[in-house]
């Protein structure tokens, strides 16, 4: 790896390119192939890359990012989709979807083939079992981090509490409880302002 000298460093990092759909696809595909970890790891990487190529400024990017959180689906997908639409229109948005979806898909098809080859060996089973055992811990730490970063009000506590009880009691209706619950909470906040 070459370390850019300080003299022309500033110029090099703001190398501007035209945001063609193909370049958007390449940029996102590259980031999605190389970045491990959840959406909140990958989104800043996408922001930096778009900024460096002169496609969008940071403030605009994070404005779109916060809007993207209102939509369901992976946050990396919605942020890329909305940003690319902003800078390159419909074609850009399509390129973004392909850039986010294709690389992991191909990687997993390869992994899937690998697993059906080696999945039956005792050693590999032990590996998968060990890997699976940490999943509850990771969910727990996600919960901890989300809870820590939220401004808690009595209202929010009640909302989360009630919704959780319903979800745990009636898991088979989770889909309807969530949709209904979120709409209900929204209307509640709209009508009774606290």
């Amino acid at each position: 790896m070459k370390i850019p000298s300080r003299k022309n460093g500033a110029k090099k990092t703001t190398k501007k390119t035209e945001p063609t759909p193909f370049r958007i696809f390449l940029t996102l595909a590259q980031i999605n192939t190389l970045t491990l970890g959840g959406g909140y790891v990958i989104v800043p990487v996408i922001g930096n890359s778009f900024k460096k190529q002169g496609w969008i400024d940071e403030e605009e990017f994070y404005r779109i990012f916060s809007r993207a959180q209102v939509f369901p689906g992976p946050i990396a997908l919605s942020t890329s989709f909305l940003c690319s639409y902003k800078i390159a229109g419909v074609k850009g948005a399509i390129a973004a979807v392909l850039g986010v979806v294709l690389p992991p898909f191909i990687a997993l098809i390869l992994v899937g083939g690998f697993i059906s080859l080696y999945g039956d060996t005792e050693l590999f089973k032990r590996f998968l079992k060990g890997a699976g055992a940490v999943v509850p811990g990771l969910v727990g730490s996600m919960l901890w981090k989300t809870a820590k970063n939220r401004k808690w009000t009595t209202r929010a506590l009640i909302e989360v509490g009630l919704l959780t009880i319903l979800l745990v009691l009636f898991p088979s209706a989770a889909f309807f409880i969530l949709i209904g619950g979120i709409v209900f909470i929204y209307l509640g906040r709209l009508i009774w302002k606290s």
Binding site: G38, G112, V134, L138
Partner: protein
């Protein structure tokens, strides 16, 4: 038929896939355990989905589809899970002027929803018995990822490797 079922299940999941990958995992589990696979198989699948590049919900969909119906199952599941989010965004971009939604209120509501989803996910994935080993792995990984900057992927791969080595012991 199988592929149609997969598509429908993941289309539904896509509609309520709010608030980051982990909140969705519980929902996916609700759809496919135990009718399609066991809890243990599901946990391993999630570990793979998390330690390969790409969004976890998307990866989980691809893997479930692959296990149930091969390549086309994987394709159907992947596109079904993003179908609704893409549709919702496109419609919003087209009609945003006419939608009188208060963004900050919607944000808070979704936060409450996704928090409840994460708690449900945690609740359903906790070990179902008191064998100490799984609890120790889970607790250790919680401490490592909650209180240090270590990426969860390394915890997953490391734990798999440790369990493999333990198997080699006499």
């Amino acid at each position: 038929m199988e592929i149609l079922k997969i598509s429908l299940a993941f289309f539904k999941i896509g509609i309520v896939a709010f608030g980051g990958g982990w909140s969705v995992v519980g929902l996916i589990k609700q759809e496919i355990v135990p009718s399609w696979m066991s809890v243990d198989a599901f946990s391993s699948l999630i570990a793979i989905a998390q330690s390969t590049p790409g969004p976890i919900a998307l990866n989980a969909a691809t893997l479930v589809g692959w296990q149930k119906a091969g390549f086309f199952g994987a394709l159907a599941a992947t596109f079904s899970v993003i179908a609704f989010p893409l549709l919702a965004m496109s419609l919003t971009l087209a009609f945003s002027r006419y939608i009188p939604i208060k963004k900050d209120l919607a944000d808070e509501s979704l936060r409450s929803g996704s928090m409840a989803m994460i708690i449900m996910t945690l609740w359903t994935l906790l070990p179902q018995n008191t064998i100490p080993m799984p609890w120790m792995f889970a607790l250790a990984s919680f401490c490592l990822t909650a209180f240090t900057q270590i990426n969860g992927v390394w915890v997953i791969l490391g734990s798999g490797a440790i369990n493999m080595l333990l198997g080699l012991l006499p």
